[in-house]
Amino acid sequence: MTRRTAAALAVCALVLIAVPWIIGNEFYVNMASQVLIYALFALSINMMLGYGGMVSLGHAGYLGIAGYACILATVAGYDQLTAAIFAIALSTTAAALFGVLSLRAPGLGFIMITLALGQIVWGVAYRANNLTGGDNGIRHPARPMPFGFDIRDASSFYYFTLIVFVVALFFIWRFSRSPFGATLTGARDQPRRMRMLGHNVWLIRWITFVMAGFWASVAGVLYVYYNLFLSPHAISLQQSAEILLMAILGGASTLAGPIVGAAIITLVKNVVSTYVERWNTLLGVIFVVVIMFMPHGLVPGCTQAWRRLRNRIRPRKTAGGAASELAQ
């Protein structure tokens, strides 16, 4: 790590810690927590999308399984920690099963199968009235008290989310830099060569799928703690598409991209929804525009533009000098 990136990280950390003081307003602190939760969703989907090239349209399914499991276990009388562990374990197991099914078909079949699986989870949540409350949704009794800390108010919940987020970010960063991450990228770009080199491409993809499912489940539990409520609307196809769009908009295959994308989409959604009801149209339009004109996303695009700008400013003297010499 160079001194520059270390400094940048320190600034980011300070800003993230200071967010509640900077904004002060409870509404916006809550929105910051929301951004962090969605950023975790986007980071988890990006493990598959950015490094493995696998486009999943069923990611909200893990929010559904983990969320409902967490609520139902808590309502059934288990303590919050047991409920959370149970929820994440159940949802990750589901991811293991969904992974086996989805990875039967490479490429576009994968999109179709993940979409169908995600919609089946949605359909069960919608139809199973006795369990999930159907369309009306169910409430989570209360936020937990991790180690005795009260996280009911906006800023302490923000810090709770931030801690989980930073831990997750660390693991996902390690994942992207690890030899395993390299084999995953290899499996995306040259599956046949990787097979020839003795790697089990299927297993690499499956492990990634399960890890992505795990972090999405963690985000799902956070989502339930934040909203204290879950209904089928939260796990619809639209939610999966929003999460995917966050990763693509910010720039898949970068670590910062999904976070930036999550921040933009969450803020735009919150702002637009207060003025007009047409969020879905805007979501569709952003989707089409981003895919057609910005397929690599904002972060790589901006990095590239920054580099080009810097190169233009710096070597201008020498280039200009050479040109004037030639002219003479």
Partner: protein, 288 residues
């Protein structure tokens, strides 16, 4: 009484299977030829139902409304293919995601125009009374829907197997490069297939109106069913879409009737079995 239940449910299942066939045959053809799962297909179906509703308000006869509405949807399909998908040629992943974005836009515009209330499409007057045969009552509109779906299946079969256009489409499905190489106008073929698929979905939506109503969310209810049909039956195969549609029609309908809580979950089972044992689907021509 017991018999009546089973007869009605069976008939509902096959009628629903017929609707699914109208939806998924086009989906499967588009997928087979262009390698794109057109995620706007559910939205096309819903749009067909709403167009049918509005045309009925304008005093068109039911069948005319269904056909005109279907063609209207087909034209929108052409626009999507020519204006949007064409620009992303070669980027199949991008094309899929764009169709999803378009489906959100269509769904939201439908919500704006036709509001959030379900819009009933009345069946033609003559078909509203059930057909009585041997002491049993058969819902006659569903019988007609089934007949139309079977006729469409036969027509599509003849189109694919007996005409020049069908031969070109089959060639494109089996080997795109080769088809291009021997001079088949593949680009025009894409547009034709998209028109055909979108029109079929639109007509299916209008015909489904009296059974399902036109309501917001019809698109996301139908799209996964079409996906499961294609996963079961195999992509690019008409026979696969046909068999898959009726299997899914039966499972879904009896699921709703017998275990309403788990109607979606029972769809999961055949999908798992097929994916584990026959990843190409029952009659797949293309690897999905």
């Amino acid at each position: 009484m017991q018999w009546q239940f089973w007869i009605v449910q069976t008939l509902n299942s096959v009628a629903f299977g017929g609707l699914l066939f109208l939806l998924s045959s086009g989906f499967s053809l588009i997928f087979g030829l262009m390698r794109i799962p057109n995620l706007a297909h559910g939205a096309f179906f819903m749009l067909g139902a709403y167009f049918g509703y509005t045309l009925l308000q304008l005093k068109l006869t039911f069948w005319l409304a269904a056909v005109v509405g279907g063609i209207g949807v087909g034209l929108i399909g052409i626009v999507l293919e020519r204006v949007v998908l064409r620009r992303l040629a070669g980027n199949e992943q991008g094309q899929v995601l764009v169709t999803l974005g378009v489906s959100f836009i269509i769904a939201d515009i439908c919500l704006l125009v036709w509001t959030g209330d379900p819009m009933p499409l009345p069946a033609p007057q003559a078909l509203r009374t059930p057909l009585r045969l041997g002491g049993f009552a058969f819902p006659s509109y569903r019988l007609v829907v089934l007949a139309i779906a079977l006729a469409a299946a036969l027509a599509l079969y003849l189109l694919m197997e007996r005409t020049r256009l069908g031969a070109m489409i089959r060639a494109g499905v089996d080997d795109m490069e080769m088809a291009r190489g021997v001079g088949i106008p593949v680009s025009r073929l894409f547009t034709t297939v998209f028109l055909l698929g979108a029109t079929l979905a639109g007509i299916g939506g209008a015909l489904g109106g009296p059974i399902l109503n036109a309501y917001p969310g019809l698109d996301t209810d139908m799209l996964p069913l079409a996906l499961i049909v294609v996963i079961l039956g195999g992509a690019g195969s008409l026979l696969g879409a046909f068999v898959g549609s009726f299997i899914v029609g039966f499972i879904y309908n009896f699921g709703i009737a017998l275990v309403p809580d788990l109607a979606y979950f029972v769809l999961f089972l055949p999908m798992v079995l097929v994916l584990v044992f026959l990843p190409q689907g029952l009659f797949g021509r293309v690897q999905i």
